[in-house]
Assembly symmetry: C2
Homo-oligomer: 167 residues x 2
């Protein structure tokens, strides 16, 4: 039996599929770009950043971590042909609201035992702007990053909906 959320998803998808035309888009994104951002529910990259269907790979994880996104970035570039990376972190981010120690404590408290390895990195950060600068620099320093790749870093303000370029 599907959950209430899955039922809703299936119903909404039925409407979407019924009106879909031209579903045979190429695998290669037309903007040759991959965008990395946070999994935050308040961000809709299509609406906020104008990313249309077929245009960019969209990688999303807690905090919009470039390190956590590395496997996807390498696949996007080397196996699928993108040539640009855009990182967008945001204000009021959940992943900037705790330390690694606090995350370990909370998970283990919730589960009633130690359930994640002590060295598991939840990759929290403090300031989005500083973190964008650091993570863009880290990515650009990697030898595996496709030669000549341009990497940009931006910060999105979830309250005003405005994005600004940092690097």
């Amino acid at each position: 039996m599907p959950t209430k959320n899955v039922q809703r998803l299936l119903k909404d998808n039925e409407k979407y599929a019924a009106q879909l035309t031209g579903g045979d888009l190429p695998v290669l994104p037309s903007r040759l770009c991959c965008l990395v951002t946070c999994h935050d529910a308040r961000i809709d990259p299509t609406k906020a950043f104008g990313i249309g269907i077929g245009q960019c790979h969209v990688i999303r994880n807690a905090g919009g971590s470039i390190k956590d996104a590395l496997r996807s970035i390498l696949i996007s570039q080397h196996m699928l042909g993108t040539r640009e990376v855009i990182l967008v972190k945001h204000t009021d981010c959940g992943t900037a609201s705790f330390t690694n120690e606090e995350a370990h404590e909370t998970v283990n408290d919730n589960q009633g035992e130690v359930t994640v390895p002590p060295d598991f990195d939840f990759m929290p950060f403090v300031d989005p702007e500083t973190s964008v600068r650091e993570e863009v620099a880290w990515l650009k320093s990697l030898k595996a990053l496709y030669k000549g790749t341009v990497v940009s870093g931006l910060v999105y303000d979830v309250e005003t909906g405005k994005v600004k370029q940092v690097v």
Copy 2:
């Protein structure tokens, strides 16, 4: 100087921010759910799955890998309060088009030297339906998964736009 893609993003964002009202949404997604799917450019979770702003965490990576999404899922549940996980893999996935060995060869050939550790896992898979079943089972077996979490697994057909539940 912003790249052409960043210029376009900034311009589209200006229009978005200008019409935004009620930007002060809560951090906790209203459906208490996190959705994991692929970074594929042909998938727009808002349109295809009816995920509105503020409703779900949306985690995306190459292939829609649950293992790769684990840090984000744990943060989503334990630090931010979601209680359900929905995995959606899809047909014609780029991450099902190569083996680990091929990915290593391609990356190192492109860069002209060995640039990723030999044990780096690109997490390719073969069949989306089989992979969804295996990854959902793996996640459910984890002691760190919030107690009582319901995990569903679906496959999206990028050509027809139709999604079906697998598990």
